[in-house]
């Protein structure tokens, strides 16, 4: 037994080392940048970091504004692309980003991406406020699903690592970085991060299996909360410039309420096309999914942009 255990431990250690090496060589997990929380309470990435995308030879780079992705401010007209991990898109090469694909449709417009994993609806709205003096966008495209709204309400569940809104007191609750040391350790060990992604035990697996429709997690539509949220939005942000891009499967009541409060909306339709997603253990859009999304957004933009 002693011999067996010793050999098993040796085998296990070598397997871990080989695993770490293989994951690094084949870039089986993306490099994850470090975050900070700015004075407005928005989480951004520390500028000038670089790293690799999954299974790619190309590198991502955090721009001076603290975002990953394109930040084209050289055109007279700029459109901001805001959202969560779908927009950040670390799991695909940058050529599949919404900003890049949309740019291919609109030659004379610059696209500025501000995407980060975990952005709720209210944080997305705060990002519009942050970007306004920097790029003065013609429009803000805010990509959202039902969950992004429910995660905005602090009275439902308080997520300390996310920006939320206290609807009762009409105040924004800033986020705190969750376990930064643990995350640093997890992300620096590629094997651990690989296992964490591949076998999401005890993980808030919000994207697992959500290939096409982002079904809300036991969320029942509460008209009162949504009225308060949109009312706050109308009073505090440039709602007329914000176009909400709803993921397929977003609750219809949310979309109709947003329309009532003057938001421009686009409801994405995947028509049950399974290849929009990356797979059963990752519901983020694949490059194909991103191209289909961009096509639908382009159709809408063509109707509102004054060339």
């Amino acid at each position: 037994m002693k011999n067996f255990i010793l050999r098993l431990i040796t085998f296990f250690i070598i397997t871990c080392l080989i695993g770490e090496f293989i994951i690094r060589v084949y870039k089986l997990t993306p490099d994850i940048p470090q975050r900070f929380i700015d004075e407005t309470g928005i989480q951004r990435y520390k500028p000038e970091q670089t790293g690799y995308y999954t299974k790619s030879d190309t590198k991502w780079r955090i721009n001076k504004y603290g975002w990953m992705g394109v930040a084209d401010t050289t055109y007279g007209k700029t459109i901001a692309v805001i959202g969560d991990s779908y927009i950040e898109n670390i799991m695909n090469p940058i050529s599949c980003n919404q900003g890049v694909i949309l740019k291919s449709y609109f030659d004379d417009i610059g696209f500025f991406e501000a995407g980060r994993s975990g952005v709720s609806f209210i944080e997305g709205m705060e990002i519009t406020k942050l970007l306004k003096p920097i790029i003065q966008p013609q429009f803000y495209l805010l990509y959202v699903s039902s969950n992004d709204f429910y995660e905005s309400f602090s009275n439902k569940i308080r997520y300390f690592d996310r920006m939320q809104i206290d609807l009762k007191n009409k105040t924004i609750l800033k986020a705190k970085l969750k376990n930064p040391t643990l995350k640093k350790f997890l992300y620096s060990s590629k094997l651990l991060y690989y296992m964490y992604l591949r076998f999401p035990l005890l993980v808030e697996n919000q994207n697992k299996g959500e290939i096409i429709t982002l079904a809300p997690k036991n969320n029942t539509f509460d008209q009162l909360n949504f009225n308060k949220l949109f009312e706050y939005s109308v009073n505090n942000y440039d709602v007329e410039k914000i176009i909400l891009i709803f993921h397929p499967g977003t609750q219809k009541e949310i979309i109709s309420t947003a329309n009532e409060y003057g938001f421009q909306t686009v409801e994405l339709n995947s028509e049950g096309d399974q290849s929009w997603g990356l797979g059963s253990h990752d519901g983020h859009w694949s490059c194909y999914g991103h191209s289909q999304v961009a096509k639908q957004v382009k159709t809408y933009l063509n109707t509102v942009i004054v060339q």
Partner: protein, 479 residues
Amino acid sequence: MLFNSIDFAIFLPIVFILYWFATNRNLKFQNLLIVAASYLFYGWWDWRFLSLILFSTIIDYSVGLRLSKQENPTKRNILLWTSILVNLGFLGFFKYYNFFADNFITAFSFFGAEIKANSLNIILPVGISFYTFQTLSYTIDIYKRKLEPTKDFIAFAAFVSFFPQLVAGPIERATNLLPQFYIKRKFEYTKAVDGLRQILWGLFKKIVIADNAAEYANLIFNNSDDYSGSTLLIGALFFTFQIYGDFSGYSDIAIGTSRLFGFDLMRNFAFPYFSRDIAEFWRRWHISLSTWFRDYLYIPLGGSRGGTWIQVRNTFIIFVVSGFWHGANWTFIVWGALNAIYFLPLLLLKRNRLNLGTIAQGRYLPTVKEFFNMSSTFGLTLLAWIFFRANNIEHAYKYISEVMSPSFFSVPDVPQKAIVIWVLILFFLMIEWIGREGQFAISHIYKLPLLIRWSFYFSIIILMFVFTGKEQAFIYFQF
């Protein structure tokens, strides 16, 4: 709990340590630990269905004890049928209720009668077909006086619920597995290492071969209307390797895990795709189920004794029932019947036991005749798998029609990435071919020097990291 999950990777070492270090001095405690671990393993999926296993265990334990004391044939029959009806009753309700209800309604509507549909939203308990057959074998063997009943309830509960093979087999016989719970297990280094080796190979089959093949098999079968005959053929080939890698991979992990705990389970797969005829295929595919049907259905029906008609009837019954065991769908029944049609000529010409040994034994390559026989058997099996995988009979018919259409000669429409999967499948087949005379493909590797052996293991692990497929549930869980 899935074998290819992190949950199991945590569960297994904990149970292993408790088994060999905390409870090893007392057989009762060791068996009790197996029961507790097995119930946890099963309850991880849905604890509510543990009651079914417990109920089945209590019924068969009690029936077994009473059968041994009972000499009155009528009362013995009543006891036997109590066990059969309880076990098959559960199986029938959970697995076949909606099938029979739907077909009943369809049949009556055909004659103009309107019956209101009353199908139930029933969850199929994982592994019910496996443990039901396992406990049935216990009662039947006692009834036939082939086995003495156990008085040790814990040992019996461990036999019924033994976690490595609880949800997808091999379907163990009480005569083989139950006595292993009576004797104190001793840790054997070679057995444990061999078990780990088999687990590694099983994981490779599942994660690299089955899960990758599944991606394309699903894509092609789910969109079969959009593809040409040549692509559909490739889809069927992908499924052929998916189901083999998936199920035999599970069996390898189950057998390997049992060996870690000092148990020997029966072999379930013996390189079936290297069979030279269908009879040989069925001696090598899902052996624990085939032999179960042979011993508890085919032989009691008269087997191959009697006239030609009896033989034909019995063959059809066993294959159709085997198909139906897989699921409540006509596709499985047709799959079974098709295999019966393949098998009958061999049986009637008394050529069903021609190929009892291993193909090309002692040689590197098969003869031309062997290769031809192997390929044609593989082709027949492939055709049958289309029925097994199709959504319904119409889907299977359209699928096969398209394969046989002129579009068969067009260039297949398969992504380039799929070529990598074929390279992996070829590598897999090569290793299986080299190891075909062993219990499993890499069982002979222990003869090689440590450095080569470990290099091979690590190569397999590297392939698992790099080519891990999109995680899929084990196919046989649904049966």
